[in-house]
Symmetry: D2
Subunit: 108 residues, 4 copies
Amino acid sequence: MRIDQIETELSIEAEEKRGPHPVNQQVSRRLKNIEGQVRGIQRMVDEEQYCVDILTQISAVRAALNSVGMLILRRHIDTCVTNAIKAGGEGRVQIIDELMSMLSKARL
Amino acid sequence: MRIDQIETELSIEAEEKRGPHPVNQQVSRRLKNIEGQVRGIQRMVDEEQYCVDILTQISAVRAALNSVGMLILRRHIDTCVTNAIKAGGEGRVQIIDELMSMLSKARL
Amino acid sequence: MRIDQIETELSIEAEEKRGPHPVNQQVSRRLKNIEGQVRGIQRMVDEEQYCVDILTQISAVRAALNSVGMLILRRHIDTCVTNAIKAGGEGRVQIIDELMSMLSKARL
Amino acid sequence: MRIDQIETELSIEAEEKRGPHPVNQQVSRRLKNIEGQVRGIQRMVDEEQYCVDILTQISAVRAALNSVGMLILRRHIDTCVTNAIKAGGEGRVQIIDELMSMLSKARL
């Protein structure tokens, strides 16, 4: 067994011990909240609450989704984009094309 | 029993028969879908799917929320805003102020 | 000449004296500023200034455009929409359809 | 004169010959158009044209600004961000922090 294989095995073990990535935990927690907020809006609609209050809640959920999106985008740039840029070549161009097209659609 | 009580009872009965407003039903159905989409994103995060695919799903949920918002806004304008404008006076100014401030925050 | 005709003539005269609507003056002033801001961005690009500073300026112009849009939307609701709602009938439905389609495109 | 000085001088000369970066030319052309569009809106306001048509034009200018922003963002990522990521260290973290904060404000 080569030394780098040992390292890989160790890091897989570490991975298993430490569970999901801390960003994922944060993202999961926020998505749970967003799910609850969506159910809250449903309740407001069922109870025929005031439209403007419902619309304000919808804006709040949108803002919450955006901040989850920023966490995931950050991780994408810190990992995939960074690795592709370091590797260079066609992969670099492709990942930046993909990033730009996603940002365009997400309406920068 | 006074005549207006009878009318009220009749209209409550009518209300019970006709169930919730059709826009509410449409809004409820869409909110249920959005809840499912949010759970889908959670699954993608748990399964460590590709960040860009997750971000694309987040954009889709945002678009779905916007279209629910438009349904509710339409009903608000068709009912509350229309009534306040017909009644005129200070109520008219107030409801338009409130509408504008909500649209500003919701980032027109 | 009836008294209300006199009033109308007086108010037309007042209109001529007072020049454009005060909202129009405010909108014009802001559009002049926006034009200057756009030229400022052009200068930044010519001088090869830092991209992030240029992007920050672009966001500022977008915010300025939005606030001009809100002034115009407010006036539209205060005048055309209000009149159509008071008049009722098909015109009311049409103007609200038009408003909603415009708000959708302007991405609520 | 050292060989790298000669190279620098040659590349400065090349720079002078080739004039501004092609992206800058494209950006300049679009900013000129946007300036014209803003003046067009001013004319519409002066001529008291229909509010909804003015609002549609404002949306068009906003879309044009966004596409200029995307060109500049692309160049920023292709140059500054790419270089900082290749260099690594604190500079990499700083430039990604700056990018994220700009994208947040520009409302992803």
